[in-house]
Symmetry: C2
Amino acid sequence: MNLIWTEESSKYVFEHRLFSIRESLCRSPSGKTGVYTAMDAPDWAVVVPVLEGPQGRRFVMVRQWRHGARELSLEFPGGVFESGENPEEAAAREMEEETAYRPSRVTRLGEMSPNPAIMGNHVHFFLAEGLTDTGKQRLDEDEYMNVELFPVEEVIRNMGKPPYIHALMAAALTLYLQRGAAS
Amino acid sequence: MNLIWTEESSKYVFEHRLFSIRESLCRSPSGKTGVYTAMDAPDWAVVVPVLEGPQGRRFVMVRQWRHGARELSLEFPGGVFESGENPEEAAAREMEEETAYRPSRVTRLGEMSPNPAIMGNHVHFFLAEGLTDTGKQRLDEDEYMNVELFPVEEVIRNMGKPPYIHALMAAALTLYLQRGAAS
């Protein structure tokens, strides 16, 4: 079956600093048209920081309040790409700002759509290794987060249970584990 | 550090059939206030249908155009919860409509926030087993999708590479694998 739609026109009906709402007139594979609504946003980075040490392999994670879910969430560090930024540099910058750990090596794990049904942006996943603790967390004025270390196995076991509520972190974990399986 | 924010007031500034945009005045742990924008939507179901047979263990997946990402996406079936619907029944209904397979057993895998930073809803993950092919796909008028079967190992290996672009499907896979590790 032909599954490809074509977009005839598109306009923004709501604009905000973090995202915009797009309404598009689209033509279906059988030629019918309809209006479909989606959200465009800058791309996001999620960084999986792995700390190797006498206590084994641990993830560096951040615990913070999230205004969408209205609850605390335990996550890998990350954030929004600034325009024109190199992806690996953006990833390293975001994680260092949030966690105070600086990576010596940043590797791409992959890229996905956070939700292709309604989102137009991408989320880029990175692995960060060779971490040095600079001791200097640099948070925005309205950021409040705790940096916490957890054994890799504990995170794998608990992903999906509060406070590990963030589906994109579970997606990051899939790519991390996939890489381990392939190496 | 105290990480808990409180919401002083909240209003919708954009409303649509699939989601609404909420602006909330929130007070930070240190007492400062700011306005935060998020999206509320009905909850979603993602169903991981496992078909056992002479060809081994395979996932039933659907390939469809996605208007947010403007590309084809290969996904587990799923959809939006209808108001008041029992979650397991909603999951079974969604997968049968999209794939024509009816499950005899639906098990909860877990529940996450699709993105707690900006989304207020939840995504519920289910495992569907004991599948019977009814031969009757029941699609909405504007739904065009192919049903395809893939060995479990192939999906694990390819998740995150096009057309496996949907991060919530990678999250579903994490819960599926977690369950296997625990059993």
